[in-house]
Amino acid sequence: MVNVSAQPTEKFMDDLEAIRRLKRGDIGGLEILVSVHQSKAIRVAALIVGDEQTAEDVTQDTFLKIFKHIGRFDESRPFEPYLMRSVVHAARDAAQKNSKWQSLDVEDGEETIERLIAQAESVESQVEQKQHEGEILGAMFKLSPRQRAVIVQRYYLGLSEKEMSEEMDVAPGTIKWLLNAARTRLRDLLRSKRSVE
């Protein structure tokens, strides 16, 4: 899971206070929210769009959109998941504008991303591990933006399939299908790369 410096409740209260300040027109609230959440938001966007500049633009736009409508923000809900969901959606849309990908046929998801990651963990040398990580990253960017988005939500943000299904307002089966397709595609890409080598 991504490192969080403060306890969840403490963080929630800090965010809440910042949101209330912003709602009162105090720009200090904006400064707190950006300072606390921007790094993670940029990294989430980068994993989907693939480059830092676009990730920063997407993150900036997302913050601005949220701040513009901060008056409507439901204070009973935590800010960070809302922000990350918005970043994922915006990054996916940005990536789709320039993406060249094909739909996938799902055959089986027996070999999963977890196994690929376990392989990366098991290699002895740091150089080999970096190389393996690079392979996985390269393969990830051959997935469709939508598939990358579900991989990031599931494996980086740690959302459950149920949470993803609720957030994206799609059937649980659709999430399962997307994840399965992404895993299968990753496996095939890594296999083909190794066979070339």
Binding site: R43, D51, D61, H69, R72, Y155, Y156, G158
Partner: protein
């Protein structure tokens, strides 16, 4: 270490290699936010206007003389094309407009035949600030309007074209016993990213 943690560590490492500079977005965001706040209230609301819901009534029995005459003589109606002269045709008796924050949406024509529905509308008063900056600017999506019938049926476009500020869309036919419909325009075309819809 469980697999979820391994996964997030691996992706964390990948994310850091993709975005290594730890850029502070705060100055940019603060400047853009303050600029937005300084805009005149009307313009600010205008930039945010995205959803225009316009209800209009299709008059079943009132058929304007001109359209009727053209149809009788040529079997052709401007904006629709050749129509089946043996069936009933319904049209909007007069244009219907709605103005919000200086932006006006007008449904100029609604023509209902047995095989299609044609809606012609135009928008006026979109300020330059609401337009995307540069060719690469995003515009709100989706921008295609839908028709909603009283029984909950939603009709999506199946054709159409536009030029300038006037656009015409074709929809499936509306049943003859339906006399009202709502025209939902999710967002305005060519509106800047800051004005993307939230709802």
């Amino acid at each position: 270490m469980n697999l979820q943690i391994k996964s997030s560590h691996l992706l964390e490492s990948a994310a850091q290699s993709l975005a290594p500079h730890n850029t502070d977005l705060l100055p940019r965001i603060r400047a853009a936010y303050q600029k937005e706040k300084r805009m005149k209230p009307v313009r600010r609301i205008t930039a945010a206007i995205l959803i225009i819901l316009l209800a209009f009534t299709i008059l079943l029995l009132t058929v304007p003389d001109v359209a009727m005459a053209m149809r009788r003589i040529f079997g052709f109606i401007p904006g629709v094309g050749i129509v089946d002269q043996s069936t009933t045709i319904r049209v909007l008796a007069e244009p219907v407009s709605m103005t919000r924050d200086g932006i006006t949406l007008t449904v100029e024509q609604a023509i209902l035949t047995s095989d299609k529905t044609v809606i012609v509308y135009k928008t006026e008063g979109i300020p330059q600030e609401a337009r995307p900056k540069g060719e690469s600017g995003f515009t709100c999506q989706p921008s295609t309007p839908t028709l909603h019938l009283p029984n909950g049926t939603k009709l999506n476009i199946n054709g159409g074209s536009g030029s300038g500020f006037r656009t015409g869309f074709n929809y499936p036919p509306i049943p003859v016993d339906v006399n009202t419909a709502k025209f939902l325009l999710p967002c305005l075309e060519d509106v800047a990213p800051a004005a993307a819809p939230q709802d």
